[in-house]
């Protein structure tokens, strides 16, 4: 655990040192802020309700795009520059390394989302707000972020090219984001059910609506664990021939 935290600290620092973190925060706040408050067609004033729904739906898509950009260099660059050898010849194993990186990106998202809390406070002051659904909304965003972070780290671990890692993460992401949902309608029976379960949108909607079902939690944790384990395996692969 100590090793994981050392790596997390280093990776988080490097997000802030390289300005990545500030760019993410500014762009995310600007983008989601615009659609939450100013856009007109679907903003808080248009729907005339004290609700963070507009924010949650725009944040869901912005994070989907931003997260692969954060994770793409995580391992790909270390493979390219050879620092992977430096780290893995220290008393650190693949799992600790991967989870340290996962945790750092996750914390960055936590910080970013925490900066949107003033909006919650503002809206809570102008009308009656359903506090429960706000907190579950944030929980939903955190879970989907964690899932995409682990997928992003996985794609970053199978290539030494950051762009490939980015695009691959988006391609895998788009399946969870919409394609599984669409495909689920095209198939009936067991296949349809499996595809429907794989669709992230449904689970996200369930949680944002304020229903925390163990089925949805299991869904997110399965993706996180599987993707991180796959990253670990792809690093261990150097020993298999």
């Amino acid at each position: 655990m100590k090793q994981i935290l050392i790596i997390t600290k280093k990776e988080l620092n490097s997000y802030f040192d390289s300005l990545m973190a500030y760019i993410l925060i500014v762009v995310f706040l600007g983008f989601t802020g615009f659609f939450t408050w100013l856009y007109g067609n679907s903003d808080v004033f248009f729907i005339n309700q004290a609700s963070l729904k507009p924010f949650f739906s725009i944040a869901y898509w912005s994070l989907f795009i931003f997260i692969p950009a954060l994770t793409m260099k995580q391992i790909a660059e270390e493979i390219k520059t050879g620092t992977i050898e430096l780290i893995l010849s220290k008393p650190v194993n693949e799992w600790q390394w991967v989870s340290g990186k996962f945790l750092a990106t996750f914390l960055l998202i936590v910080i970013t989302l925490a900066l949107t809390l003033p909006w919650y406070i503002t809206i809570a002051n102008i009308g009656p707000i359903d506090h429960g659904s706000v907190w579950t909304g944030y929980l939903g965003l955190l879970l989907m972020s964690a899932a995409y972070i682990s997928i992003g780290i996985f794609t970053s671990s199978i290539t030494n090219n950051q762009i490939v890692a980015f695009l691959l993460a988006l391609v895998i992401g788009i399946f969870f984001q919409i394609l599984f949902g669409i495909l689920a309608h095209a198939f009936s029976g067991a296949v349809g059910n499996v595809l429907a379960f794989a669709d992230m949108n449904i689970h996200y909607q369930n949680i944002t609506r304020g229903v925390i079902d163990s089925k949805d939690l299991i869904y997110f944790f399965t993706i996180i664990i599987l993707a991180l384990a796959a990253s670990e395996l792809s690093l261990l692969k150097r020993n298999l021939n």
């Binding site: 090793q3 490097s14 040192d17 390289s18 620092t83 050898e85 010849s89 220290k90 008393p91 021939n241």
Partner: protein, 308 residues
């Protein structure tokens, strides 16, 4: 701390990078690894550091095995990989702290230790710069500092002096010699003179196998074979001298060499110097030169590693 490499084999696909390789290194020994490109030097080093797992065989560092106790082994080793990979966007101090923490140095001691390492490798003026802003020589020092930071018992340097200027090379050699007095050091190099200058023992490997093992002196002797002399004789016609030399009983072959010299190879185990001198005395010729040709490590290396 002793290192025992036991019958390791490493395959890359169908290619055998290491073929049943075994050797031992004792505490206080500086072992030099020589071999042509692709011989398996780097692979062996990666296997000792636990970065690569051999397909067969085991490596023991002290009493720990890389297969069973990789984490313990890694704690004992300071490793400078080939090409010296570094996090270029980190400042020198932060980087050394990070590596120190990973190596399990106590929080209270870490700042002191980082300071000590910066002074040891001579990075005091550059310590606040980002590693990416440093020149190659300084980066190499950062690489050395990270390998030494936890005061490891075993040090592994993969081509530690590539790309350095002659002054830096000498500095680093001195440093390695100093460290090597109480620790176990393995270093690899293409530069034979370097291995000769720093190492107590030399291992030459080729195609994943050990082809020679011993001190530089021993290897030279082993490869020496028959005595070869460069002889210059004046006082008569070149061809006559050549004919007479050929008739000496201790001589196997005579060749013309440049500058009117002869290259004389003696028969196995015999020396021709006396016979040549006596021949000159008898004929009234005089010697202008009589030099034994010593094989250097370079010849040994070429002999052992050239494809036949």
């Amino acid at each position: 701390m002793n290192i025992v490499v036991e019958n390791i084999t490493k395959m890359y696909g169908s290619q055998k990078a290491l073929d049943n390789l075994s050797f031992k290194v004792k505490t206080g020994e500086i072992l030099g690894f020589l071999g042509p490109n692709g011989a398996g030097k780097t692979t062996t080093m990666k296997a000792i550091t636990g970065y690569l797992t051999p397909n067969q065989g085991d490596i023991k560092v002290g009493r720990y095995s890389v297969l069973e106790n990789a984490e313990e082994v890694k704690k004992q080793i300071g490793y400078l990989p080939e090409h010296n990979p570094l996090y270029l966007d980190m400042p020198v101090i932060d980087y050394l702290k990070f590596i120190g923490e990973l190596q399990g140095i106590n929080k209270e001691k870490i700042n002191e230790r980082v300071k000590e390492m910066i002074l040891t490798v001579g990075l005091d003026k550059e310590k606040h710069k980002k590693i990416g802003e440093l020149s190659k020589g300084y980066r190499q020092r950062v690489g050395l500092a990270q390998a030494l930071i936890h005061n490891p018992q075993v040090l592994i340097f993969d081509e530690p002096t590539t790309g350095l200027d002659p002054n830096q090379i000498i500095e680093i050699r001195e440093l390695i010699k100093k460290i090597g007095k109480e620790k176990t050091v393995i270093l690899s190099s293409h530069i034979l003179a370097e291995v000769e200058a720093t190492c107590d023992r030399v291992l030459i490997i080729n195609n994943g196998k050990i082809v020679a093992d011993g001190t530089a002196e021993e290897l030279r002797k082993k490869a020496q074979g028959n005595e070869v002399l460069k002889v210059g004789i004046a006082g008569s016609d070149k061809n006559e001298i050549f004919e007479r030399l050929k008739q000496l009983s201790t001589i196997q072959t005579v060749d013309y060499a440049e500058n009117d010299l002869f290259e004389v190879e003696s028969k196995a185990g015999q020396s021709s110097a006396k016979a040549i001198f006596e021949l000159c005395v008898q004929k009234g010729w005089y010697l202008t030169q009589l030099t034994p040709i010593e094989k250097n490590l370079e010849d040994v290396f070429r002999e052992l590693t050239l494809e036949k």
